[in-house]
């Protein structure tokens, strides 16, 4: 009764399973009791065994639906079986016809999945499964159905294909987890145990840790500088020692110093987190900054800056984050600078709203990837916090990255405004290894500005990059000048090298940066 097609010779591995299925599906009547119903006999019932009908095309489902009630036509049934095999290449189909006591014919199309010859090539199929363990999720999260599936594998020969299916099921049931599988020797000789280890994927987290800003590089105008942020901890809690050495990144200060940040991103719930950061920095001041500060009595230089920042965060959704806290900063005056006779406090209330959308559902590494991150942060120095500086600093930032194959497009922008008299570390600057590449921040505005507008577009192919940066930093009462730069770069892992050229200037020169940057998408939140 089996359909024999030339191609089925290759399916010899599937035949034992297939024949067993046939025998199970079609109880054999006693000898002499049964004759095969001839073609033309009315078909009283027809069914497909071993496969959900919905997996077949609607046309084929309809054809199968027409079998019952029609006269028996074996050629037509063989054709339908061949069509099933055509639609599902990894399955074999056979037709079984049995007589109906009422004189009709019953048709069963038996479908079985072929075993993957490559899985059969795994030599461990000769061992029986002793135990299957799922680690990384509580036992209560394992459904009865899943447990039954695991139990069904125990005591039977190890089937890699079955283990693959269970792994796929775990991925489907726990989409927020990365699933890995390890098969090992069991406790008894000749038995194996299978461990599925589930680890919470970073992209599924409600709250993200503060983005790493570690870097070490040389800038033609600004020299060497480095900042290291070295997180140590677990999935939910970490402590990061911070070390800065002559870095000018994102600030008009050139700071050296130390810090310590503690972060917890699950306090009772995945939605609540907290952080505590202490830092002590000793800025060095460029001569241009000292000269500009001397002309601007509202801007004072300081010898050291010590900051303590406790914050709490709440994730309204997986993408939307709200944070609030205070920043308590003490500025020790420069002995030679008279505008700060005593230490002063720059205490602020901080509020931030952040949105992030990370493409986590890529099935393959080659799938296009979109990442978007945006944040609006307001820092307000107020008398209620005993601050000597009364101001409000608001900044909105956004970054978008698209990746497909070796191509990457990065678009970023920010806009900020300071109202009131803010300390120097709060003032905006552009023109370093990260922003307005090709310009030097100490030429643009040696004491920064209280307004900023900036945009950057960068295209990367493999390790090569080209970019256009444009922006302006200015004071309320000063004229705004928009600056543009362009350049090329090389990025290989954390290593980067860029050559930036300012465009709208008579002083055409190249600014070169080379070094390491460990930061990815995302900006310092506070």
């Amino acid at each position: 009764m089996l359909l024999c097609r030339a191609g089925m010779r290759t399916l010899h591995r599937a035949l034992p399973v297939f024949i067993s299925a046939l025998l199970l599906m079609s109880p054999r009547p006693a000898l002499g009791q049964q004759t095969d119903p001839p073609d033309g006999t009315p078909v009283t019932s027809a069914q497909v065994s071993g496969l959900e009908l919905t997996r077949l095309s609607p046309g084929l489902q309809e054809e199968i639906g027409k079998i019952a009630g029609a006269p028996l036509d074996r050629a037509k049934l063989r054709e339908l079986a061949a069509r099933i095999e055509g639609e599902l290449p990894r399955y074999v189909a056979a037709v079984r016809v049995t007589p109906d006591p009422a004189g009709g014919a019953r048709v069963v199309i038996v479908v079985a999945r072929m075993r993957d010859p490559e899985h059969q090539a795994n030599i461990n199929v000769k061992y029986n499964v002793e135990e299957i363990k799922i680690k990384g999720v509580p036992d209560s999260a394992i459904t009865a159905e899943l447990r039954a599936e695991m139990d069904a594998m125990k005591g039977k020969p190890f089937e890699p294909e079955q283990a693959d299916r269970l792994e796929a099921r775990l991925r489907a049931i726990f989409p927020d987890y990365d699933v890995s599988r390890r098969t090992m020797k069991g406790d008894q000789t000749g038995l194996v145990t299978i461990d599925f280890v589930l680890t919470r994927s970073e992209s599924s987290r409600w709250l993200q840790f503060e983005p790493n800003k570690s870097h070490a590089f040389y800038h033609t105008d600004q020299g060497w500088g480095a900042f290291f942020d070295m997180p140590i901890g677990s999935d939910n809690v970490r402590v990061s020692p911070l070390v800065a050495w002559d870095t000018t990144e994102d600030s008009i200060e050139e700071i050296s110093g130390l810090g310590l940040r503690f972060e917890a991103r699950k306090i009772g719930s995945d939605r609540f987190g907290a952080s505590l950061e202490w830092s002590w920095y000793e800025p060095s001041w460029r001569s241009s900054t000292v000269a500009a500060a001397a002309l601007n009595p509202g801007v004072g230089l300081y010898d050291t800056r010590t900051t303590f920042t406790p914050m709490v965060s709440f994730a309204a959704t997986r993408h939307l984050r709200l944070s609030g806290g205070v920043g308590i900063t003490e500025l020790e005056p420069l002995e030679t600078f008279l505008s700060f006779p005593n230490s002063s406090m720059a205490n602020v209330a901080i509020g931030s709203i952040g949105y992030s959308l990370r493409h986590k559902d890529r099935k393959h590494g080659d799938d296009p990837r979109h990442d978007f991150e945006a944040a609006l942060t307001v820092r307000s120095g107020m008398e209620g916090l005993e601050s000597d500086f009364i101001y409000t600093r608001s900044i909105g930032q956004a970054e978008y990255r698209f990746e497909a194959g070796g191509h990457q497009l990065l678009v970023s922008g920010m806009a900020g405004v300071i109202n009131g008299d803010a300390p120097l570390f709060e003032r905006f600057s552009l023109g370093d290894a990260h922003t307005l590449r090709g310009w030097d921040k100490y030429d643009i505005s040696p004491i920064g500005g209280n307004n900023v507008a900036y945009g950057s577009v960068e295209y990367r192919y493999s390790a090569l990059a080209m970019f256009v940066d444009a922006g302006s930093v200015w004071d309320h009462d000063a004229q705004r000048k928009f600056r543009i730069s362009t350049g090329v770069g090389v990025h290989a892992g954390p290593f980067f090298m860029t050559v930036g050229v300012p465009l709208n200037t008579d002083n055409l020169r190249a600014v070169f940066t080379i070094g390491l940057r460990f930061s990815g998408l995302g900006f310092s939140k506070y």
């Binding site: 994927s201 990370r358 393959h364």
Partner: protein, 197 residues
């Protein structure tokens, strides 16, 4: 006298190191009947990420490609390509190999209880080029051999910067991924060789 003996020691050490380095990469070509086969003890592919996968009880599929070239870097005039499935016997702690993709009806070839070197050698043994396919290169004319492996299975690497950017751990991972990527394919060329009539 002492200086001369030091020189001998240095020379002997250098020769030994050179011999070991060249020996590790050595490729030899043998003619067996109408087929050309190669041996390349230094051409290893059971290492790194694929080896970890095997030791986790998974199978690994590898494509091996042998090409005969008229000169170094040239296009191949004859080629043989086979796909193998490797696995690691968890109890015997030995490797097994199956040649897959054989023509329908012919039994698939396999070998078991092999060390990693023996498993790699077995794969290369299955990779032969007919002398008749070499054309003029089969008639005492120098030719080159290009051997390539590609590991076809492997867990996709995690997306770069999927978390909070690069960290020191990220740096280690990045470097490891590069190492892993190198482990997943490799090409060597060797020659010149001649087939004696």
């Amino acid at each position: 006298m002492a200086r001369r003996s030091h020189r001998h020691v240095v020379l002997a050490t250098f020769t030994l190191l050179l011999w070991a380095a060249l020996g590790a990469q050595a490729v030899t070509v043998n003619r067996t009947g109408d087929a050309v086969a190669v041996k390349a003890p230094g051409f290893t592919f059971i290492k790194g990420e694929p080896l970890s996968r095997l030791k986790d009880g998974r199978s690994v599929r590898v494509d091996l490609d042998l090409a005969v070239l008229p000169k170094a870097g040239a296009a191949g005039v004859a080629q043989a390509k086979q796909t193998f499935v490797l696995s690691y016997d968890l109890w015997e702690e030995r490797f097994a190999v199956t040649l897959v993709g054989t023509p329908s009806g012919t039994p698939s070839r396999s070998a078991a209880y092999l060390t990693s070197a023996a498993a790699e050698a077995w794969c290369l043994e299955q990779l032969t080029v007919a002398v008749s396919a070499l054309g003029p290169l089969g008639k005492d004319v120098p030719f080159w051999i290009r051997l390539e492996y590609r590991i076809l299975d492997g867990d996709p690497p995690p997306a770069a910067n999927s978390g909070g950017g690069y960290t020191l751990q990220g740096l280690i991972d990045t470097m490891s991924r590069r190492r892993k990527a190198q482990d997943l394919s490799h090409v060597i060329e060797a020659g010149p060789f001649r087939l004696k009539q």
